[in-house]
């Protein structure tokens, strides 16, 4: 009893409350008291340009998703060489734990976690609730850039299996492979009523979803108030209700693979399922020739 109480106190002291969904997440309180922790590097990956510069978590460095984390010419994630350079320049060694956070419910922060995992850096955690929760709690921000000492980072192993390609997805759609397909877009995008959320440019020629996919919109797995992930058991229930229980490999996708990284993070890091992210997503599949499409809305191409 005493020991239980003691460990509970230790837990509260170490992580504060509320209790974390998983050790892949850190709370705002934990991060606020670990800003000077030499073993971590805080990285912001935000969608909106300019938010980092006008105030970020002290000590954080800025990764620009559209230049730092992708290949700017061909559609691909950052190359291995550039990844090593990026980490080295920002003082992230092979033993450094990266704490990621960002705006928009950590979408691109999760995307960063996925890219880091592909290059074998799985010492990666996400600040639960992200930028939004941090600023809502009036925790400190700064406009000063962190002073980082460059190190030498080497990719030791690549985890290519965390990434699904069109052929992998097609194999599932045509019934040649047994996997769960998880579409995390809004119900309207899933049904084919719309091709992309309003105001979004990158479009597909066809609307709908990949045959066999189930729809669990990303927002269903977070607390609507603060954007934190729901508890692990709740996540398990939500996915199980849609037939995703971790017994089969899973492939997540959305429109460009960004929001789906968020669900991929939950499935991979919190639930520990075998899951790949399909970053081609609907902007690749919905434009591919000759692939089967499921369109419950019945929208057809009219040339407009």
């Amino acid at each position: 009893m005493t020991r239980k109480l003691f460990s509970a106190i230790v837990l509260v002291l170490a992580f504060g409350s509320p209790v974390l969904a998983s050790d892949a997440l850190v709370t705002t309180q934990w991060l606020a008291s670990n800003l000077n922790n030499a073993n971590i590097r805080i990285v912001e990956v935000s969608v909106e340009p300019g938010v980092f510069e006008r105030g970020h978590i002290p000590g954080a460095v800025n990764f620009r998703w559209h230049t730092d984390l992708v290949d700017q010419v061909k559609r691909d994630v950052i190359s291995r060489e550039n990844f090593e350079k990026l980490f080295s320049q920002n003082g992230i060694g092979n033993e450094t734990t990266v704490i990621l956070y960002g705006d928009n419910n950590n979408w691109f922060a999760a995307w960063g976690a996925w890219v880091f995992s592909i290059y074998g850096h799985d010492k990666v955690k996400i600040l639960d609730g992200g930028r939004n929760k941090w600023t809502k709690e009036n925790l400190p921000v700064t406009t000063r850039s962190a002073s980082v000492k460059p190190v030498t980072y080497k990719v030791t192993r690549e985890n290519a299996h965390l990434r699904a390609k069109l052929t992998d997805v097609l194999a599932v759609a045509e019934g040649r492979t047994r996997s769960n397909l998880l579409d995390i877009r809004s119900p309207q995008e899933f049904s084919g009523a719309v091709i992309a959320p309003e105001g979004v440019k990158e479009l597909a020629i066809r609307a709908g979803h990949i045959p066999g996919a189930v729809n669990v919109p990303w927002a269903t797995i977070v607390n609507p108030e603060d954007g934190t992930f729901l508890p692990k058991e709740k996540l398990r229930e939500i996915y199980a209700a849609k037939g995703i229980d971790g017994k089969k490999p899973i492939i997540t996708y959305c429109r460009i693979g960004e929001r789906s990284s968020h669900s991929w993070f939950a499935l991979h890091f919190i639930l520990g399922y075998d899951v790949r992210n399909y970053d081609g997503s609907w902007t690749e599949y919905g434009n591919a020739v000759g692939v089967p499409v499921n369109n419950p809305s019945g929208t057809v191409w009219t040339g407009k």
């Binding site: 340009p49 300019g50 980092f52 510069e53 006008r54 620009r64 230049t67 406009t143 000063r144 850039s145 309003e198 105001g199």
Partner: protein, 416 residues
């Protein structure tokens, strides 16, 4: 009454057909309206601050805009009048105000760049600074803008603050600006494909570092100021020093034109505050956005404007929100100017001739067209751009000055 007697009867007096004496019969009305305006602004600030359904920093933007309006009105910060004073009256003193603003702005931007982009050669630009693609389109846009200034009587920012002074030309010129934006949108795709797409975006520190080039720019402006003051300052009759009374201080603040250096420092600091918290100062993006909305609705401009929304500068995208940050800024600017004009007695609408209407409208069209194709006006490109050490800001400004100079030569006429 020597101090206030120089002004014609105020608008409210004219309505009542009464003679006006300071603080007698009707002039209390303008104080009443000014007071009401201040109360409304504060109420608006309270209402829009920290609202999640509005753009970020809405309250702060309102304060910035109102302050900018007061500064522009109190110092008559009009790029055209300043350049005309220099070219026609050989008076360089007003021009020093712009140069002080550029020095202050450059220093402010350097302070931020040092921490936002520690290594200027790293291959990325400072976030959302007004740094645009560089090619001949800036020269064409700058020239058109300069001519537009001559024809319409000022640039976009000055028309906005004159709206607060009750100017009748200003709304006509701003309407023209909207039309000019629509024309710009019509030719944009062709311009983009042939020119802008391949034009380099040049940021001076990216190839020259922070070492000495930025200081050369600041030193250059400082030298210009000294040159202007020595060579082009008009002889002023020495005024007897009066003892500072409360009344004299009030007059200096609320009625007399503010000195150039004060306006320059004020505007430079404002630009720095704006870039730090919201984004670079600019006044045309909301006009462009509204024009684009209308153009889309009437289906008279291309639905897709190639590459346009990818450039930083006076952005016109995001037609979904009712009011953008820039919209709040310019509305507050007009309100600030109106309050300042009411207090100083500059709120004086006058009738204008049909010829002036046509000339002003045409000038406005040139302003809009020029601002659209060069992605900014005298505030966005000249002030924010040069402060950010953008080559685009320099080129636009040089062409704009050439436009004003040639416009003054070729479109002679009586100007007030």
């Amino acid at each position: 009454m020597a101090i206030y007697g120089g002004y014609p009867p105020y608008i409210f007096c004219r309505i009542k057909k009464k003679k006006c004496k300071f603080m007698k019969n009707c002039s209390y009305l303008r104080y009443l309206f000014a007071g009401l305006g201040i109360v409304l602004l504060v109420a608006a600030h309270h209402y829009i601050s920290n609202r999640e359904d509005l753009v970020k920093e809405a309250g702060f933007t309102l304060v910035l805009g109102a302050t900018f309006g007061v500064l522009l009105q109190r110092s008559r910060f009009c790029f055209f009048c300043i350049l005309r004073d220099f070219f026609e009256k050989k008076n360089g003193a007003p021009l020093t105000g712009i140069l002080v603003a550029l020095i202050t702005g450059s220093i402010g931007y350097l302070v931020l760049f040092g921490t936002w982009v520690p290594d200027p050669g790293a291959g990325y630009l400072p976030q959302d600074a007004h740094i645009g693609p560089v090619s001949w389109h800036l020269l064409a846009g700058g020239l058109a803008f300069g001519w537009g200034m001559v024809l319409s009587g000022s640039c976009v920012s000055a028309h906005l603050y004159r709206l607060g002074e009750g100017s009748v030309e200003a709304p006509i010129a701003l309407l023209g600006t909207g039309i000019g934006f629509l024309l710009g949108f019509k030719i944009w795709n062709a311009l983009y494909v042939t020119t802008v797409a391949a034009a380099p975006v040049l940021w001076i520190p990216a190839f020259a570092g922070y070492g000495w080039i930025p200081f050369i720019q600041i030193l250059f402006f400082a030298t210009l100021i000294i040159w202007l003051l020595v060579k082009f300052s008009p002889a002023t009759a020495a005024q007897p020093e009066k003892n500072l009374s409360l009344r004299l201080i009030g007059e200096k603040i609320f009625v007399k034109r503010w000195p150039e250096w004060l306006a320059g420092i004020g505007i430079g600091v404002l630009g720095f505050f704006s870039y730090l918290r919201v984004g670079p100062l600019g006044v045309t993006s909301e006009i462009g956005r509204q024009a684009r909305k209308l153009g889309n609705k009437l289906n008279i401009i291309p639905a897709e404007l190639e590459g346009l929304d990818g450039f930083s500068g006076c952005r016109t995208d995001d037609t979904s929100v009712i009011i953008s940050s820039n919209g709040i800024f310019i509305l507050a600017l007009i309100a600030g100017s109106l309050i300042a004009a009411l207090l100083s007695g500059h709120f004086r609408p006058r009738g204008i001739s049909l010829f002036t209407v046509g000339k002003t409208l045409l000038g406005g069209v040139l302003l809009g067209l020029g601002a659209m194709i060069s992605l900014g006006c005298t505030i966005g490109n000249s002030l924010s751009g040069i402060s950010a050490f953008a080559v685009s800001g320099w080129l636009f400004t040089i062409a704009m000055i050439a436009g004003v100079w040639s416009g003054l030569k070729f479109f002679p006429g009586k100007r007030k």
